[in-house]
Point group: C2
């Protein structure tokens, strides 16, 4: 099918947007549109500039045999900051404070728009670590981890709290979660990962870091390297976490059950970038 | 910023693709691109035809005060069938058969590309029921439910197996799952839904229909209407499910643990559409 330039642009952007970070060859688009590869290449160059200006992401041409074009999600500093500030604002509404000083946050983390944007931020921050998969432990981190995997164009792996009959043989570890102060179990299906891969750990919340440490121990049982640890919210206290290197988007400064007050702020790197 | 037609097309498609089904006003695009609304309208019309021809979805103009433009995910019959057939093929590989005749399927359902496509199919099938949210019960259905919510541009709600401190007060019900033949519990946070809403139930697997029935009972505790029930895989037996109306994408015809054979086929409506 021969398409004019306007339509080529629209169709190409649709395909690239549906699978962020996936590399499509110029040949693929050339054949789809009935044009020369050089024409596709020119289209991309022209579009890339407009995308950059509008803050719609990074249209990148990759040279070489495995080359082609991909659309890397990339927020402008302004959009990143206003998104995180807005999220802090919504998180700190008084009715979110629960008995025991816990915070209701599932509604926000399950909103596709928010999960998708967080996933795109995580993907941008960790893309250079080249993970083979994203891993989380059920349940609240799943939507964000799913969207991170989508933005990285890699599989999602979910560690379970219990052994499941539908997961086949699995490896389990015990760990102590600081939030619950209880011994907990997490297990991972042997079929889910392969020795020698790299896994990116994503979770919604970190207090002591026990859960993230648990996931990293679980992965080391499979000889899997940790590409990085990304969490949406971390608490200011305890300052020392069980895991040394991690990237959080938001810091929970304090929460008081009695006064129904919680204070959130963007992580320092978000402010300083 | 004044943009030429090519770039307008690309930028508009990016924004529409990132939030399928969301209605953007012509005014929004007009202001973003520094053009008249009538120009935006012409751009859309031109693009819609190309999208239809390429099977990239349905670019729809909505008239009236709350009008604008949206991109409805829509697979062509050919793409739908080839996607489902390919999924059947991958599901039926012998190493997926587990002790007890269970099937390993998490890897496929957690692949962003597959979950996204299933979500788009579900959204297209249930969009006319106008759900306020998508609901699933943890865990394996979450990625697909998330992508359905994304494609419908509505929130995701997750029922839990246990009461969680981070969910606030919640309502719990007991139900019998045919798969496990056990009494199980599911609970839903009071904060997650509002009386009078409509919920679309999405799950990955249905055998007897106990889990879907459980979800529908849980929703009726909140005075919430069921918009519909969508599952990825249903079993041919038992033929009578606890839930009468549901839409499945794939039928599991038989599974034999000894011979490591499982047979899947597309649901009849997929073949007959």
């Amino acid at each position: 099918m021969k398409l004019d330039k306007n339509k080529r642009m629209g169709a190409m952007v649709k395909i690239l947007s549906d699978h962020p970070n996936r590399i499509y060859t110029l040949k693929f688009f050339g054949e789809l549109f009935g044009t020369a590869k050089s024409t596709v290449s020119e289209d991309i160059e022209e579009m890339a500039e407009a995308f950059e200006n509008l803050g719609l992401g990074c249209l990148e041409t990759i040279a070489g045999a495995s080359g082609g074009v991909r659309l890397r999600p990339k927020l402008t500093q302004k959009d990143l900051l206003s998104f995180i500030l807005d999220l802090c604002d919504r998180l700190s509404s008084p009715e979110r404070v629960l008995p025991g000083g816990f915070l209701y946050r599932a509604d926000l983390l399950y909103l596709p728009e928010i999960a998708q944007k967080i996933g795109e931020i995580m993907a941008f921050e960790f893309e250079n670590t080249k993970p083979d998969f994203v891993i989380t432990v059920e349940t609240k981190g799943i939507p964000v981890a799913m969207m991170t995997a989508r933005a990285l164009d890699c599989p999602l792996v979910i560690a379970r709290r219990n052994n499941e009959v539908t997961e086949g043989s699995s490896v389990s570890i015990n760990y102590v979660s600081a939030s619950s102060n209880r011994l907990q179990t997490m297990s991972l299906s042997r079929r889910a990962v392969k020795q020698g891969q790299k896994g990116l750990i994503i979770d919604d919340f970190m207090r002591g870091g026990g859960t993230a440490k648990g996931m990293s121990e679980l992965l080391s049982e499979f000889d899997i390297e940790i590409a990085g640890v990304g969490v949406v919210i971390t608490t200011s206290f305890p300052k020392e976490k069980l895991i040394k290197e991690y990237k959080a988007l938001i810091e929970l400064k304090e929460v008081s059950e009695n006064s129904e007050v919680s204070r959130f702020s963007p992580a320092r790197w978000v402010l300083e970038r």
